[in-house]
Symmetry: C2
Subunit: 364 residues, 2 copies
């Protein structure tokens, strides 16, 4: 690939442009707001001039609702040999394109894609060439997609150091509904219950609810766009969750019954919810996309001085132990906390001994 | 306090006993399984012999269903001057005690308490004197509770370096339903949807669903006990969540409508869910139980070598920057990842410059 056109110079478009430009591709930048394209150009993502002729790849990085019209416009003026979009939903854009009456050759030159990357900030100033590094980048080619276009898309993904994953467009939309859109709404529904809760209750919050509600802090505007583009699969999944929830409420009410058989039935119902939750949780991929390795934790007490974490990590490094994950549990009302270091089981005694020797208080 | 009796030498009982023993209190240990009490004694938590006379404080640390009968037994034989239990639910034990026909003097000598501490392991071998450090420990005295007993309980909490919080028993049960039991079940319901999901979908999981489902990995047996002791408040909250969920499904279905007014109504409904989620999430206490400070993140690229984190933390410490929280985002299919360092906003330029100078790749 020697030339590219990036239409939509927000976070994703500008990040892809930066990656392409850093590999020597001549990138043209366009945005409905010329100021945004100028900003992206100033960051080194390319030029905001129009390409002289047909570029190799056009990357359409506009909000989901505008993808099909933007693609169709670019196709009609023959802007590129291949076209991709990067919207978070894939069934709709393809159907919209078909509805716009594009011919088979135009449709063959298009692949819907979705880089599974993001960050809390948006706009070109938040862009970075390494945004996609190591993250899945889904490709949804059709049966008639040109191989040449598939290879252009794969080249872009390689330049971005992302991991290509090929999926059917509708399967992709169901998958992101499952692993992202549904959990996002559920997290918000749990957090919503705290809005008017009493302060005395809220101060009992621990790490569990903190984790469950973390993504409820995300920017609502972006999420309305995402959810509006994928309402069907998300509604289907939420309905399934709602049915399970009703079942769970029934089981809890049965636990309050005077009838022992009903109570036993209720306990069985709750047990089944927890069993299924356990089973599902083990499927969440751990590090490196592999099946979850089971790590064990070493818990260290710290106070809140700068450098405490630094010293723990330095001491762990000196012992040759690789820390796989870290969790800091903050104490309530005190200048102290616990650091949970996740390591492979065989490292536990090594790390414990090494940290003890250096004077750390290790929780048994 | 000079003498104590701990009945039930699991994780919580043995941890409290270790804290008491370390402050010079003579602790007697009892368990329905004498082997457990012997183990706790061998760990230095006290003696498994019976006390010669009345002790100062009896700590009943048995499963919720056995609390009232165990307390009543100890009270009838005049085992202690004051009695507490440490079960995770507080309304039931008090009502059960009243139903057992204990007199006013006996009831005045009892306080239901709940240390908000726990860990994934159970049993005396998992116990540690610092289990409660910095965590809230709820006290639910009644109007007629002896002040002397309240002071004994406060002394125990001080020895455990926990933070005492006084609440009404039923308010406590509603609060833990809100901040712990309801989120626990919801996390399991989200995770349950992954049990039979296709592998291609599951591999798209990111940090969001990983956080939402983390607590679904907890031990089901313990959670059945907890939920069985608090079914009413949990069912009430889950019903509220279910009503919101139905509303959300309706809003998503409206987004699929051909009617533009309906679609606008649907978007408004989703917007409201996200707004409420945002508002509730900001109430989750951050570090030190304070109102959440807003931290900013500095993102560093690392590869998977031992010592990488150590060097980052050492470099941050050298720059005098206190890392408030850490999140490690693992890359899919690659030996690389991102480390997100949370710091107070004014530390961002200092930390960024310091890490850059030491050769780290910082995401802009």
């Amino acid at each position: 690939m020697r030339t590219a056109l990036v239409i939509g110079t927000g976070l994703i478009g500008t990040s892809a442009a930066l990656a392409l430009a850093s590999r020597g591709v001549r990138v043209h930048l366009a945005d409905h707001d010329p100021e945004q394209a100028r900003t992206a150009a100033a960051l080194g993502a390319g030029t905001d001039t129009e390409p002289a002729g047909t570029v190799d790849l056009a990357v359409v990085a506009v909000p989901p609702a505008h993808v099909a019209a933007t693609l169709a416009g670019a196709m009609r003026r023959g802007a590129a040999r291949g076209y991709i979009d990067v919207a978070s939903v894939k069934g709709g854009p393809r159907r919209d394109l078909e509805a716009l009456g594009l011919d088979a050759a135009a449709l063959a030159s298009y692949i819907g894609t979705h880089p599974m990357s993001g960050r809390e900030k948006s706009g070109p100033l938040a862009a970075t060439a390494d945004l996609f590094e190591g993250r899945p980048w889904v490709l949804t080619p059709g049966r008639d997609t040109d191989t040449e276009v598939l290879n252009l898309a794969l080249e872009l993904i390689a330049f971005c150091r992302a991991v290509p994953v090929v999926m059917d467009a509708d399967a992709h939309d169901r998958a992101v509904a499952l692993v992202s859109h549904m959990p996002h709404l559920v997290s918000n529904l749990v957090a919503a219950r705290l809005e008017h809760a009493e302060e005395s209750a809220v101060r009992l919050c621990g790490q569990g609810i903190r984790d469950v509600t973390r993504i409820a802090a995300s920017e609502p505007a972006m999420w309305i766009d995402i959810l509006s583009a994928n309402p069907g699969p998300v509604a289907d999944l939420l309905s399934d969750v709602a049915a399970d929830l009703d079942e769970t409420v029934r089981a809890l009410r049965a636990l309050q019954s005077a009838d022992e058989d009903k109570r036993l039935g209720g306990a069985g119902g709750i047990q089944e919810v927890l069993r299924r939750g356990n089973a599902g949780q083990t499927r969440v991929p751990g590090k490196h996309g592999a099946a979850p390795t089971s790590y064990e934790s070493v818990i260290v007490l710290i106070d809140d001085q700068p450098g405490q974490l630094a010293r723990i990590f330095a001491d762990a490094g000196r012992a040759g132990v690789n820390i796989e994950d870290v969790r800091i549990e903050h104490a309530t009302g005190q200048q102290a906390g616990l650091v949970q270091l996740m390591v492979v089981p065989q490292s536990v005694p090594v790390l414990t001994a090494a940290l003890r020797e250096r004077g750390w208080a290790i929780r048994q």
